[in-house]
């Protein structure tokens, strides 16, 4: 029952806030259980989804397809992990409980967003996830978090207004907001200026939401200043679902691939890939570097999507999933480093791999996965994206993507050199591994990365359908 995925978090929030003291302590296990249920659900329906079996449900008609279930799985994994991080870093019990409630709401928002097939409902759930994240970012009420939250809020509000305006225009055109009806109406008048305005507004809003360059201004601030658990959730999945997933879904189901959309995606994708990587190269704050890296990786997803071929789309979705895993892992490790050393400034760190071996090794795996070093999961998605670009005839963009993966490796090597590798820096001698609440999720995510990477040649035919026989 997909609607349970939205209703259960709501019920959890309502029940946990009944005026009974012991309930508060149940919040954490409840969150973990919910995430596990969701992961199991997503994995359970995945084969059926891939086989193309439609599901009948009142609210979410035909909601389950491979894209949706992959996203549901990613949401579950990232939420699971960030609850651990929350436990390790939130501090005060009361605040931890409040933040957990908001995490429930954010997850409900993302699940709804992934499941709906209606433009306006998409807007509603998108706002739900966003509002929960603004508040979470500002949760510690420190200056940096507030600043990041305010910037995110303003840009996000602007983006949703653009989308709503577009929804209004499309409503006037088609008399409905369901994906199918709008897509039909759009097809009938594909090249009309009115339609192009509506499309442009919507795509613009989604690009702002995804933090694509040059609309990225809010993203590094929000990621780097947020509390550790929140930046894990935000970077791993929230902005990916609210921005990138929505973009993929709408382009696939509603807008279709016109040469104009393709060009738009290619250009913004290419700018993000290269400029994001270059900006990351110049950072000294660990989380900021990861944020720029995120922008760069979103660029890859757009490039894959832009090809419009089955291979490219599957690769983009796969990269989205991979990105959720490895970026979450990196943010968890950044949280561990910050917690143990008290700083994120990479110039003050060094040699931590010897002091925190688990953090060091898992970070390395995540970085290599991002850079596309085999045999990790990120390699396959990047390979498929590049191959899709090449086979679709976008040779220049393929070359660009390959070149940028060199940049990716360069900035991650610099991070690795300054934080983990090298000699132990003065002041870091007594650093120890963070507690199990941070190492356990790291190990889990690293296992997924390696497992998916090694098993992919066999998984690819089963779960990434269009890629079969590539």
């Amino acid at each position: 029952m997909p609607s349970l995925l939205v209703i259960l978090p709501l019920l959890a929030v309502l029940l946990l806030n009944l005026p009974l003291n012991f309930l508060r302590r149940l919040a954490l296990p409840a969150a973990l259980l919910l995430a596990l249920y969701q992961a199991a659900f997503a994995l359970g329906v995945l084969p059926a989804c891939c086989a193309g079996c439609p599901t009948q449900e009142r609210w979410f008609l035909n909601a389950l397809d491979p894209l949706t279930s992959v996203l549901l799985l990613a949401i579950a994994i990232v939420a699971f992990v960030s609850v651990f991080v929350l436990r390790a870093t939130a501090g005060e019990e009361r605040r931890e409980f409040n933040m957990l409630n908001l995490v429930f709401l954010a997850v409900a928002g993302m699940n709804g967003l992934v499941l709906v097939r209606d433009l306006f409902s998409l807007y509603v759930f998108l706002e739900l996830a966003s509002i929960a994240s603004f508040i979470l970012i500002a949760a510690h009420r420190e200056m940096g978090g507030l600043e990041g939250a305010f910037k995110y809020l303003v840009m996000s509000a602007l983006a949703t207004m653009m989308m709503l305006a577009s929804i209004a225009l499309l409503l006037a055109l088609s008399g409905s907001t369901s994906f199918g009806a709008v897509a039909e109406a759009l097809q009938a008048h594909a090249r009309h200026g009115y339609v192009l305005t509506a499309l442009g507004l919507f795509l613009g809003g989604l690009l702002i939401k995804s933090g694509v360059m040059p609309f990225h201004g809010w993203l590094p601030d929000a990621y780097s200043a947020a509390p550790a658990a929140v930046s894990t959730l935000l970077a791993g999945i929230v902005t990916k679902v609210t921005g990138v997933y929505a973009l993929i879904r709408l382009v696939l189901d509603v807008f279709g691939f016109t040469p104009a959309t393709q060009q738009l995606l290619l250009i913004f994708g290419a700018i993000s890939v290269v400029a994001g990587a270059l900006a990351a190269l110049g950072q000294s704050d660990m989380k900021r570097m990861l944020a720029y890296s995120s922008i760069s990786q979103v660029g890859y997803i757009l490039l894959g999507l832009a090809t419009g071929t089955g291979l490219g789309i599957a690769a983009a979705v796969f990269h989205l999933f991979n990105h959720a895993i490895f970026k979450t892992l990196l943010f968890v490790n950044a949280a561990a480093v910050e917690k143990q050393t008290g700083t994120r400034d990479m110039n003050q760190l060094g040699g931590l791999a010897q002091k925190m071996p688990i953090t060091g090794v898992t970070s390395l795996l995540a970085m290599f996965s991002t850079a596309g070093v085999p045999p990790l999961a990120g390699f396959w998605s990047k390979l498929l994206i590049i191959a899709a670009l090449w086979l679709s005839g976008f040779h220049g963009y393929a070359l660009l993507g390959i070149g940028a993966s060199l940049l990716t490796l360069a900035y991650f090597l610099s991070l690795q050199r300054r934080v983990f590798f090298g000699l132990v820096r003065a002041g870091c001698e007594n650093v120890r591994e963070a507690g199990w609440a941070l190492t356990l999720p790291s190990l889990l995510l690293a296992a997924i990365l390696v497992g998916v990477g090694l098993a992919l040649p066999w998984l690819i035919g089963t779960f990434l359908l269009p890629v079969k026989g590539f």
């Binding site: 040699g351 010897q354 290599f368 850079a371 596309g372 070093v373 085999p374 045999p375 390699f379 390979l383 590049i386 191959a387 090449w390 086979l391 393929a398 070359l399 390959i402 070149g403 993966s405 060199l406 490796l409 360069a410 090597l413 610099s414 050199r417 590798f421 090298g422 000699l423 992919l456 040649p457 066999w458 998984l459 690819i460 035919g461 089963t462 990434l464 890629v467 079969k468 026989g469 590539f470």
Partner: protein, 480 residues
């Protein structure tokens, strides 16, 4: 045990076994050292067991059905030859490490990476699928990155990153080339590609991109810069990296891809030897000026790689067989040189040849081993290096490009000059540093073994050259 299982074990045992080493190392150090050697010896033994079948003309294949279509491992004579060379030198290097690395921290990491590296090398050798080849290719790059940065001081780590970036750049370009091959031939599998490319030569862009990857890995001009810098690594590592295995990966990939499976258009038979010639000559010149012992030997490696490329790319049975033989002889001899350099460095704490001298008095075995290996690299009969160099040059002389051959002859003379200069400056003359005795027995035995192998390679030249010739005939399709 069937033959394809043996082939699989040769790859899988060291790759996955290496992951156990840090765990074992936490419990007992000597068990870990023994296990590390054992893992490499399994590869060596497996490769030895494959000799018989492949020499009788068999090609052993193992296919996995995957979402990317078939994925293949394949053992033919070329692969088994290469596997033998690398696992042989690798085993000696691991043995030498017992002595050398025991002075340093992070030994668990060291053994993990060395064995993983050798395992990945085995995988690369038996790969008959472009994706598998690429994966193992990058694993070797990762392992060598960590090994170069082993001592962890900022300058060293920076150089490690540099070498990783250069090889990664080459590898990604190669990957793009592979994608182009895939587009043209419709498969990642080498046999299928070979069949598809009959009559349709590969596009020049794909060849150039793949060549970029190969050149970066084998440190050939213009992507040679990382290799001399990599000399900051622990000595056995540089020996492993430079001499025995890493740079040979590029050479082997060239043979595997362009000689065996994707015949190149005519024009590349001029371009590649010309690149090799320039690279060999320039690197020899650089070696002549260098005073850092390990950097000098590294430049010498770049120079010698040029000879191998010449043998493989110029065409003709004699040159090709010479090139293969060169891989073996150079691996053994250059490994010996590096390990000797390691002993010298560890005992005197000095790598500058102008500040060394007279070491033969206290380190006779090391000195003689160094001399023998030097002779082998130079190509003095009856050592192994002579035959391979002779075959390459003689084979190339049959070809149309006399000027390329002449440049290589010039390089060979330069080799004599710079290597003898090293020997004289380090081991002869007046002692300039405090004299130390020989290194630990394990280390001395290792270099002596390599020197003996160099001699044996010359005296018993019949066996390796028979193997190389047979492999060549199989490559050229003269026999099935």
């Amino acid at each position: 045990m069937s033959l394809d299982t043996i082939m699989l074990l040769v790859v899988v045992v060291p790759v996955f076994g290496s992951l156990l080493l840090p765990l074992v190392g936490k419990v007992c150090k000597s068990t870990r050292n023994g296990l590390a050697l054992l893992l490499v010896l399994v590869s060596l033994a497996g490769s030895l067991m494959l000799i018989g079948p492949v020499m009788s003309g068999k090609v052993i294949t193992l296919t996995f059905p995957t979402g990317f279509g078939q994925m293949m491992l394949m053992a033919d004579r070329l692969a088994v030859f290469m596997a033998l060379v690398s696992s042989l030198v690798g085993a000696i290097i691991v043995f030498y490490s017992w002595g050398y690395i025991s002075h340093y921290e992070n030994q668990n990491e060291y053994y993990l990476l060395v064995v993983l590296f050798l395992g990945a090398m085995m995988g690369l050798v038996f790969a008959a699928n472009l994706l598998i080849l690429y994966i193992f290719w990058e694993i070797t790059a990762i392992a060598s990155w960590r090994l170069i940065g082993f001592f962890r001081s900022p300058a060293i780590v920076l150089r490690a990153d540099k070498s990783f970036l250069v090889t990664f750049f080459g590898a990604t370009m190669m990957l793009l080339g592979f994608i182009m091959v895939r587009e043209q031939a419709g498969s990642w599998d080498l046999p299928a590609i070979k069949a598809a490319l009959v009559g349709h030569p590969l596009s020049s862009a794909a060849v150039a991109l793949i060549l970029l990857g190969i050149l970066s890995k084998s440190a050939t001009l213009p992507l040679q810069t990382w290799l001399p810098d990599a000399g900051v690594a622990p000595s056995p590592v540089t020996a492993l990296l430079h001499a025995a295995v890493l740079v040979k990966i590029g050479v082997y990939a060239y043979a595997r891809l362009f000689v065996v499976n994707m015949p190149l258009p005519e024009i590349w038979q001029t371009i590649v030897p010309a690149i090799a010639g320039v690279s060999a000559l320039v690197a020899a010149g650089a070696a002549l000026l260098e005073t850092d012992l390990k950097r000098l030997i590294a430049f010498s490696t770049i120079s010698q790689i040029g000879f191998i490329f010449l043998g493989l790319s110029i065409g003709g049975e004699l040159a090709l067989a010479g090139g293969l033989l060169y891989i073996l002889m150079h691996g053994v001899a250059k490994g010996g040189l590096f390990l000797c350099a390691g002993i010298v460095e560890q005992n005197t704490h000095c790598k500058d040849i102008t500040k060394l001298g007279g070491l033969i008095k206290t380190m006779p075995v090391t000195a003689i081993a160094f001399l023998i290996c030097t002779f082998s690299v130079i190509g003095i009969p009856p050592l192994g290096g002579f035959f391979s160099k002779y075959m390459v040059i003689a084979g190339a002389a049959k070809g149309p490009h006399l000027w390329i051959v002449l440049s290589f002859v010039g390089t060979a003379f330069l080799t004599i000059i710079y290597l003898m200069r090293v020997f004289v400056m380090v081991f002869m003359g007046e002692p300039k540093t405090e004299l130390k005795s020989e290194g630990s027995p394990v280390m001395v035995w290792s270099v002596a073994l390599l020197a003996l192998l160099s001699i044996a390679g010359g005296l018993l030249i019949y066996y390796p050259s028979f193997f190389a010739t047979e492999a060549t005939r199989q490559i050229l399709g003269l026999i099935p």
